[in-house]
Symmetry: C2
Subunit: 145 residues, 2 copies
């Protein structure tokens, strides 16, 4: 089962801070052996609590300076999977959130500049059966961790 105790939560916190932390390091912090820590992490991967590890990148330094959210409305005939697929097809789209309420989706995009943003929005509007968009330009961001 996915019953997690305090130690499991500590391990998740430690791995959230640094996903490449060694088992020995975590073991010293939580007061277990390295093997025990490895078994717990393996178990959390097995049970799906941990879905993976990834690198965090500063996209501005890669020349993708502009971030935006686009609220989208689709025609009534569009299915959820169509909506997600048509937006996710664009390489600049980082995430697609389908929503309850009058909006259908919130799409997070990352682009080089404003001309590029315009182009992506245009592509999204043309793909699928979009009936309306409203774009929110991100000026600053704060994220936990």
């Amino acid at each position: 089962m996915q019953e997690l105790d305090d130690i499991d939560h500590s391990l998740l916190r430690l791995l959230h801070e640094d996903g490449r932390r060694t088992f020995a390091d975590m073991a010293a912090t939580v007061g277990l052996s390295t093997a025990a820590v490895k078994r717990r992490v393996d178990r959390m991967r097995e049970s799906g609590v941990i879905t993976g590890f990834t690198v965090q990148v500063d996209h501005k330094k890669l020349g993708w300076a502009v971030e935006a959210f686009s609220e989208i409305r689709y025609a009534g005939t569009a299915s959820i999977s169509d909506i997600v697929e048509s937006a996710a097809r664009q390489p600049e789209v980082q995430a697609v959130y389908t929503l309850a309420g009058d909006l259908d989706a919130l799409v997070q995009v990352r682009v080089r500049d404003l001309a590029h943003l315009q182009e992506v929005i245009d592509r999204i509007r043309r793909s699928g059966t979009v009936t309306g968009t409203r774009t929110l330009m991100v000026l600053g961001r704060w994220t936990r961790g």
Copy 2:
């Protein structure tokens, strides 16, 4: 901005897929020695292209089943740093995006259930000088990678 060649981009892609991949594994894929790969990764950390590594967690499995975005308007007297600070203070807030346009901020929250969501929205409304909110409930999500 930073000078990155194709190999650097390959390394970023590999680390994005699996942040705990070993240097030897990446070296075999891109056709370099492990030492050369380590030097490139170290350089990208130094230059700030790579800001860190982290674990990816399925929050639903941890009992945080509800995700939402809250669009927020603040009083004209509120400064950007006040806005971010007052929202980021709530532990349920995952990210705060400050925006251009009539909206001031988009806040991403993760909560246990709808009652919990209500409580967090209330807390955000009371903290700082919020003049209006509109909450978008997330039904489904797709993210790149």
